[in-house]
């Protein structure tokens, strides 16, 4: 069974704006690649949940005026993973635990994209855009899996990926190593911190037992994805 991908999102990735005419041919092509990505991909995901502590002065830099700037970090306990930056710390204010999540579409997508780059560039671009949408949906599904695993009464906030805000992308090697992702999901990292397969995502969320209304930032309500899909989409690798 296919996941309901959001066509509007795929079109948005392709730079489509509403005033533009979408020809029937291109609209059909988008429908096609949204199905095809799900046939080609080999989705897998993995998460683990940890206790954490805030380290107020993890490292420090000096600004142009010579002022010392302390930089805080989230230490994922029992591991050597530190998520540095105020954005990471702020993201986990009030959280009981931290969830580390990774997902990938697998090397098959990489291969198919390269094939289309030779035979049909338009399709390559559309296939790539569908892949972006698909992996986001898989991350949405993973969040439901996390919630099912922890049981009622606990909530996730919005997922946050290294490389955004002031959380450096340089944390990727540690992030992946902490979860043993190279062996579990087959994701490799280049020297330039690029994940291969490229359609892979790392993210963390806070797990909260507090009142949902106090949780910031709110998890985006996923469109079309629900916990029911977990029964038929067994993509978790433990």
């Amino acid at each position: 069974m296919d996941l309901p991908l959001d066509k509007a999102e795929v079109l948005r990735y392709l730079g489509y704006r509403r005033k533009q005419t979408l020809t029937a041919e291109l609209a059909t092509l988008v429908d096609e690649v949204m199905l095809e990505i799900q046939q080609v991909a080999n989705p897998r995901y993995h998460f683990q949940i940890f206790d954490f502590e805030i380290i107020p002065e993890y490292d420090a830099t000096t600004d142009d005026a010579g002022n010392r700037l302390a930089r805080p970090a989230v230490h994922v306990l029992g591991t050597s993973l530190y998520l540095s930056g105020t954005d990471a710390v702020d993201h986990l204010i009030g959280a009981d635990k931290i969830v580390l999540m990774v997902a990938t579409l697998g090397i098959e997508v990489e291969r198919q994209t390269r094939l289309y780059e030779v035979t049909d560039m338009t399709r390559a671009l559309m296939f790539d855009a569908s892949a972006v949408e698909y992996i986001e949906k898989i991350m949405d599904l993973q969040e439901f899996d996390v919630l099912a695993h922890v049981g009622p009464g606990l909530t996730l906030n919005r997922r946050f990926s290294p490389g955004y805000g002031n959380v450096p992308l340089d944390v990727q090697p540690e992030f992946l190593a902490t979860l043993g992702i190279n062996q579990k999901l087959g994701i490799n990292l280049t020297e330039t911190m690029l994940m291969v397969p490229r359609k892979s995502v790392t993210a963390f969320s806070g797990l909260f037992s507090s009142e949902p209304k106090e949780i910031r930032p709110k998890r985006r309500p996923p469109v079309g994805i629900s916990a029911d899909l977990l029964a038929t989409h067994k993509w978790r690798i433990n």
């Binding site: 969830v99 090397i107 559309m126 992308l169 540690e174 190279n182 087959g186 330039t192």
Partner: protein, 808 residues
């Protein structure tokens, strides 16, 4: 051979070897933080590492693997690698096992072209470890948890070329029966054992129950001892953490079955404990050796599939060979790999099983190009390749980095050829194709050709190449010139098959050279040759008549089970022959161009481009060329259409896929124009303006760059496309050699924008007068200044404007 080596090999071949169990799991239980590289524990907590080794020895392990899974200079600072290896071996030896295996895992980066790690860099990383391991007293090397077949090959070669130690190799498979990179156990086993490993198998990822069918697959193809180290079952998640539950007794139950099926070397992987080793030892104490019956196969592979040539007929596609092909020659000269890949895909879709790759043109650096083309093909086309060259240097270069087992074309009966080519086939594996000719030419009797074939098979045997890894080409002469020799070829096929037990290959279409209706001759000769025992014709898979004959032959050979494929093709009307047309002649392509209508009438070429009707423009261009010169076609149709589409895109009326449809429509039309220009008589063109494009080092995103390339080509610019992950030095050298004045660089990540800056700096430092335009998701005007570029191209049309202004 050292005594220890002989002992290890003897144990593996005639008895059993018991390896230890998990190291990481044990270290974490003793305080290693999750995610930290465990190799450092050799230095910081040697007593902990040694204690674990000692427990495994006490539990009965014959072999202790060092705590060095990723002790490589891509994961650790270079200066720390050798000291850690030395210490790790010392700690393993201190536990007094029978043997110490140096443990060598994957580097942790994906090989090019999917990733950025080159074969030679991977080789160096492994060679450094292997040399250090040998120097510091390891008794063997275990290459394990490998997912990438080519990386495994680099590792095996690095060990074998730099040490004399025994080498065992195990790959890791997922629940779908493939490695993460897509290799199946059959393909991996055939490929890696051909490199001369002493044991082959699998480890990690799954529990023994799930691995059992994969182990049976391996046993079916292994000619060396088989090794298995599963995880302690499939883990669960408990309280958010990964936990292994399988007990030692349950684990052993499955390993016992594997031993009964013929596995020789066992151990355990993630989640296991010394208790598992103890339990396995107890089994081995009572278990007698089961030696599996070895089956030998004539087989070639890509990294994704195996083609077994033992039975049936298999097609070797001949079209990637520049002899007599103007377009392919031009593509090779211009490094237009896209053209070559399309040729490959067309042959695959037409039913080829293997693709011949010949890039021999006098003016080209054949070793370099054969390697490059075979790598690119392997990246996209799943079929095994036949590496085809008269140059041994080219064959070696391509065979060394070939991802799988190639067919090597060719050796012949000349002493010099045998001495040059057979070592390549021995070292890298694969099937060697032997031509039945020698210093005295091609014998005109079947007995004469058989004698040469026999000599080739025997000499190969002396080099250690088994008979099943040799195929013979009895050589096909043309019926128009040497009619009596046609039967000699057929007789030789029979003799070689019956007397040598070796499979045959022929270059099919030679037989019809110089005669009319060649396809009739080719397909009839194919039937005769298959009747004589032919295994693999080298032929044109796009020749429908011959392929139809082949489809029929597969029915008669019982290769097409229940005639399923034949019936399917018949139902699709593939065998329909129009009355009056010669057998097998392809029906002429319907001229769809004239059927495309608008309300106002048929579309002209300009409207086709604007509407993005890329399927129509080639035929319409051909039609226009009957009346107009190529330049007139460009000026009357391409230029006005591109102007309109470009303007609409800039105004935001079109979005990118629409621009691309139009660009592809032009591109397809340009192919026809180019072919027309190649036909000779066209007046010498003004050299087009050249632009170099590259995705910078460390970045592997190239869709954006490829779109820019296509659109710039639409506008008539000649693009020197260096591809993705392009080393800085390559950009500098190409700018200099090709006298480039405008360079476009692409980078998608903030981390790779640094390499954009480094590239620009390096080109300028070399004193080259060049302008740079840059683009990519993270780029903006500010970054453009920062990296030292001259122009920012937010999209493909912007790059056209920049180029037009620059070359004005």
């Amino acid at each position: 051979m050292s005594n220890v080596k002989a002992e290890i090999l003897k144990s593996a071949q005639t008895g059993h070897l018991l390896f230890d169990g998990a190291m990481g799991t044990q270290l974490q239980a003793r305080g290693l933080p999750v995610g930290e590289q465990s190799e450092y524990f050799n230095m910081s907590h040697p007593e902990v590492v040694q204690a674990i080794h000692t427990e495994y020895v006490a539990a009965g392990a014959d072999v202790i693997t060092t705590n060095t899974f990723q002790t490589n200079r891509r994961k650790l600072p270079a200066a720390e690698v050798v000291p850690i290896i030395a210490k790790a071996i010392e700690l393993a030896q201190a536990a007094h096992p029978k043997y110490v295996a140096y443990d060598m895992g994957p580097i942790g980066e994906l090989m090019a072209p999917m990733g950025t790690l080159s074969f030679n860099d991977a080789y160096d990383v492994f060679a450094e470890q292997a040399i250090a391991a040998a120097e510091h007293g390891a008794d063997l090397i275990l290459i394990e948890t490998m997912a990438d077949l080519l990386e495994t090959k680099a590792a095996v070669l690095a060990v074998k070329e730099n040490t004399t130690l025994p080498v065992f190799a195990t790959l890791t498979y997922q629940a779908d029966g493939r490695t993460f990179v897509g290799t199946d156990p059959q393909t991996a086993t055939l490929t890696i054992q051909a490199l001369g490993v002493d044991a082959i198998g699998l480890n990690c990822s799954l529990g023994p129950e799930q691995l059992l069918p994969l182990v049976d697959d391996i046993l079916q193809y292994a000619t060396v001892p088989v090794m298995v180290q599963p995880n302690a079952g499939l883990p669960d998640i408990e309280d958010g953490q990964t936990v292994y539950h399988l007990t030692a007794a349950e684990f052993t139950k499955y390993l016992k079955i594997m031993l009964a099926h013929g596995v020789s070397i066992i151990g355990s992987c993630c989640g296991s404990t010394p208790e598992f080793t103890k339990s396995l030892r107890a089994v081995l104490n009572t278990q007698s050796k089961v030696t599996p019956q070895i089956k030998r196969h004539t087989a070639v592979t890509s990294s994704l599939q195996t083609v077994i040539l033992d039975d049936g007929v298999h097609v070797i596609g001949e079209r990637i060979n520049p002899t007599g092909k103007k377009k392919l020659k031009a593509a090779l000269r211009e490094q237009d790999l896209g053209y070559i890949i399309k040729e490959a895909l067309a042959q695959k879709d037409a039913g080829a099983d293997i693709l011949d790759v010949n890039v021999g043109l006098p003016e080209l650096d054949e070793p370099k190009i054969l390697l490059q083309v075979s790598q690119e093909l392997q990246n996209i086309v799943p079929l095994p390749l036949q590496l085809d060259s008269a140059d041994p240097v080219a064959l070696e270069a391509a065979a060394r980095q070939y991802n799988g087992l190639p067919l090597i074309n060719s050796v012949n009966g000349k002493a010099e050829s045998l001495a040059e080519i057979l070592p390549i086939a021995k070292k890298y594996g694969g099937v060697i194709l032997g031509l039945a000719l020698d210093e005295d030419g091609i014998p005109d009797t079947a007995a004469g050709r058989l004698a040469i074939a026999k000599r080739i098979v025997e000499t190969a045997g002396e080099y250690g190449i088994p008979k099943e890894s040799v195929m013979i080409d009895p050589l096909v002469l043309t019926a128009s010139a040497q009619q009596a020799q046609v039967q000699v070829t057929l007789d030789t096929i029979k003799l070689v098959t019956a007397q040598l037990g070796v499979k045959t290959v022929i270059g099919l279409s030679n037989v019809s050279f110089g005669l009319p209706n060649r396809e009739l001759l080719n397909s009839t000769f194919l039937a005769a040759a298959v009747g004589a025992g032919l295994a693999a014709p080298i032929m044109n898979p796009l020749a429908k008549g011959t392929m139809n004959t082949l489809a029929a032959l597969k029915v008669f050979k019982n290769q097409d089970t229940n005639s399923a494929n034949y019936i399917e093709q018949a139902q699709q009307g593939k065998f329909t022959v129009t009355a009056g047309s010669p057998v097998g002649q392809a029906p002429t392509a319907k001229s769809t161009a004239t059927t495309a209508q608008t309300a106002e009438g048929p579309l002209d070429l300009k409207q086709m481009i604007i509407a993005g009707r890329k399927e129509l423009t080639a035929a319409e261009t051909k039609r226009q060329l009957a009346e107009l010169t190529p330049l007139e076609v460009v000026n009357q149709f391409f230029v006005p259409a591109l102007d309109i589409v470009g303007a609409q895109f800039e105004k935001g009326e079109l979005f990118l896929p629409q621009l691309m449809q139009s660009a592809e429509a032009v591109k397809n039309a340009q192919v026809v124009l180019k072919a027309a220009l190649l036909q000779g008589d066209a007046p010498a063109q003004v050299a087009p303006e050249k632009i170099l494009l590259a995705t910078v080092a460390g970045d592997i995103h190239d869709i954006g760059k490829n779109i820019v390339r296509m659109v710039l080509e639409n506008y008539g610019y000649q693009i020197v496309d260096l591809g993705k992950d392009v080393p800085i030095a390559t950009v500098v050298a190409t700018v200099r050699e090709q006298n480039i004045k405008l360079v476009g660089l692409s980078a998608l990540m903030t981390t790779t924008v640094r390499n954009m800056q480094a590239t620009i700096t390096a080109v300028r430092a070399a004193g080259l007068d060049v302008k740079f335009m840059v683009g990519g998701a993270v780029l903006n005007e500010e970054y453009t200044t920062l990296v030292g570029a001259d122009y920012y191209a937010p999209d493909a049309m912007a790059s056209v404007k920049i180029a037009q202004a620059f070359f004005k």
